[in-house]
């Protein structure tokens, strides 16, 4: 006998949204404390995002604070921050989860103590938060990256993917859609040879890029859907004989990539605006804490300049489509 997966599956994971009903007309409460808990503090990307959140909260007259671990893989540390925030009785937490499962217990404890929970950038299991503010639809991102590189390669040649950690959930979802997109007839002359993992570490990503190029001499393009990976790959390409011969695209920030776009290593890449992502998370958290939404599908809330948003299935709120950056427009962005 014993307790096996099968015997517990029946119990399942209870679904998200609370049963309490929302009051869309409720006034936005002020003086709330909303804490941002990014994957990693001091990470430029998250700093921009969290500053977006601060902007939203300032505009609404709420209190903003940011805490977090200085390592992006210190799950235990992130859990203890959730615990601390629960202790401090903040009104809402906006968290970018390092691990979809590990934060669950702590977040559920937070919610049962009356703290509202929004995830942004990286989600947890749906049962462990009320709303997920998603940067872009995973499907759109995955497909558009394949489209980007295909255009640069004239729809012919071998390509590879340089991802972050093997466990990065969002990466894996995107890669799934990329593979799916590649199945379309338009890409019949293109082949995905491998997926390499650089663990979001500059040196590892660097050497993985080297390895890819050595192992597949005919490689024509690399997609790196992670800001660290694309940066490292671009740096390697720009200093090697492959510069300009191997196309590179993926997700990167304009500041990181400016040099490589200008020197011709990279033709184009894409990203959403992290500041807007944070801003939206801030509005969502406030809406939750004010009782305007509960995270159930179909509820709507206002997000300042960003306009009005509707909660989708599983409590997901979608930011919108990403921006493509290339030589022509990169100088207009500074983040």
């Amino acid at each position: 006998g014993g307790t096996t997966k099968k015997s517990t599956d029946a119990a399942g994971n209870a679904a998200a949204g609370s049963t309490a009903s929302a009051n869309p007309g409720a006034a936005t409460r002020t003086g709330l404390t909303v804490a941002f808990l990014p994957k990693q503090v001091n990470n430029p990307y998250f700093t921009i995002a969290d500053n977006g959140g601060k902007k939203a909260l300032d505009a609404l007259g709420e209190k903003y604070k940011e805490v977090g671990t200085s390592s992006g893989t210190d799950t235990a540390g992130q859990v203890s921050y959730v615990n601390t925030l629960t202790q401090q009785q903040v009104n809402a937490i906006a968290v970018s989860a390092q691990d979809p499962g590990a934060l669950c217990t702590a977040l559920k404890q937070a919610m049962s103590n009356g703290v509202k929970v929004v995830t942004y950038d990286s989600d947890t299991n749906p049962g462990c938060r009320q709303v997920f503010v998603s940067q872009a639809s995973a499907e759109a991102l995955g497909r558009s990256e394949v489209q980007l590189i295909a255009k640069q390669l004239n729809y012919t040649g071998d390509i590879a993917i340089l991802s972050a950690a093997q466990t990065a959930t969002n990466q894996n979802t995107w890669i799934g859609y990329m593979k799916d997109e590649l199945k379309k007839p338009a890409y019949k002359n293109m082949k995905l040879v491998t997926v390499a993992y650089g663990n979001d570490d500059a040196q590892t990503s660097f050497q993985q890029t080297q390895g890819l190029l050595q192992q597949y001499p005919d490689l024509k393009g690399i997609i790196s859907p992670t800001t660290v990976g694309i940066k490292a790959a671009a740096q390697y390409l720009s200093g090697s004989k492959y510069k300009g011969k191997v196309a590179l695209t993926g997700l990167g920030t304009p500041n990181d990539m400016r040099a490589y776009v200008k020197d011709g290593t990279v033709a184009g890449f894409e990203l959403w605006d992290p500041a807007k992502l944070g801003e939206l998370a801030g509005y969502a958290a406030t809406a939750l804490a004010s009782g305007q939404i509960t995270g159930a599908q179909g509820q709507t809330f206002k997000a300042g300049d960003l306009g009005s948003f509707t909660v989708g299935a599983d409590g997901v709120v979608l930011l919108g489509d990403p921006t493509v950056f290339d030589k022509s427009n990169i100088d207009q962005f500074d983040f």
Partner: protein, 350 residues
């Protein structure tokens, strides 16, 4: 001990003939690591002919250069029976300091000087804490690892240095070179040779070995411990600083997390290179070979198409293999040495 010992001239002339038995033993050990390295590279080349192309060799050397520098400094400290765990943090903070300076339009040479000076300062701090406080280096440098990392994080915040902010000459120094020989590699080799020559050929260098071999005996022999130890740490810090500047040139990208966890890689390189943590033995060449071996493994695995899922496990197992082979060779050599010593002994008696 019979009274029948040959005429003085003979006895004095004899030793140089079998010069440096100990030396020879040490060289053999380094050869063992070298052999493992060469075998591994050749095997990879057979599998993938693109591996040792001009670009491939250049990449191998580039990858190793920075680690070689830091490992050289670390080896010097480890030889004195101490350790500097703060090298990763020092590398990170000096890299950012250099980048910050360059970003403001500074002179590249001056930026390197700044990084080296800052690294030296941290090294000196470590050295003074360890030697004046006479406290365990492991604890102190673990402490400074945290402190420097924390200061770095507070100072840098979420800023980062990106390639576009660096002068072109500086960035291109990080990856260009002569044919397959990158400038970075040349620099690292130069530092390595000088350090090795110093350790071997100068009294103060020998005293570092003495210090590590037996601190108490060193004190009784009048080795100026309070001078040598800080000097060793200073060198280690300076090289970590230089490595920081080169890291910036090489990767063109520095933030507050740069170099974290690097100390473990450095310590691995030193250990694989046969520098004993009990002090007094090993050489910087060994440490450099260790560094080359480690970085090469990371180039070899992707080049032969090992899925990155397997890389970590294979990395660890190869590391274990390397130290095991090294150990077995060392045991062999020790046995040969003992036999030879026994032979000379009975020869004398005869």
């Amino acid at each position: 001990m019979t009274e029948t010992i040959g005429p003085p001239s003979q006895a004095v002339a004899a030793p140089p003939a079998r010069a440096g038995l100990l030396d020879l033993a040490l060289k053999v050990r380094e050869l063992a690591i070298g052999a493992v390295l060469v075998l591994m590279l050749l095997a990879t080349q057979l599998y993938n002919s693109a591996f040792l192309s001009v670009q491939g060799i250049k990449d191998l050397l580039l990858n190793a250069a920075i680690l070689v520098l830091v490992a050289t400094g670390q080896a010097v400290v480890v030889i004195t029976r101490n350790v500097d765990l703060s090298v990763g943090s020092v590398l990170g903070i000096t890299a950012f300091a250099a980048g910050d300076f360059l970003q403001g339009g500074g002179n590249p040479v001056l930026a390197v000087v700044i990084a080296v000076a800052l690294g030296s300062a941290f090294g000196l701090l470590n050295g003074l804490l360890v030697s004046l406080g006479q406290v365990p280096a492991l604890v102190v440098t673990l402490g400074t690892l945290y402190i420097i990392r924390g200061i770095d994080a507070i100072w840098v915040g979420s800023r980062e240095i990106t390639a576009s902010q660096l002068p072109h000459s500086f960035a291109s120094f990080g990856h260009s070179g002569f044919w397959a020989i990158p400038w970075l590699g040349v620099l690292a080799a130069l530092v390595l040779v000088v350090a090795a020559y110093y350790l071997r050929g100068y009294r103060s260098g020998r005293e570092l070995y003495a210090l590590g071999s037996s601190p108490e005996a060193a004190r009784l022999a009048g080795v100026p411990v309070r001078k040598r130890l800080p000097a060793a740490y200073l060198l280690c810090g300076a090289l970590a600083g230089l490595a920081g500047a080169l890291y910036l040139a090489r990767f063109g990208n520095v933030d507050s997390g740069t170099g974290s966890g690097y100390e473990l890689t450095v310590v691995s390189a030193v250990v694989v290179g046969g520098v004993a943590f009990t002090g007094g033995s090993g050489s910087v060449y060994g440490a450099a070979l260790g560094a080359l071996l480690l970085t090469s493994i990371n180039s070899v695995l992707p080049a032969v198409g090992v899925s990155s899922v397997w890389v970590l496990a294979i990395d660890g197992i190869l590391l274990l293999l390397a130290i095991t082979v090294d150990r077995l060779v060392a045991l062999r050599v020790a046995r040969v040495l003992r036999k030879r010593a026994a032979q000379t002994r009975s020869a004398h008696h005869g």
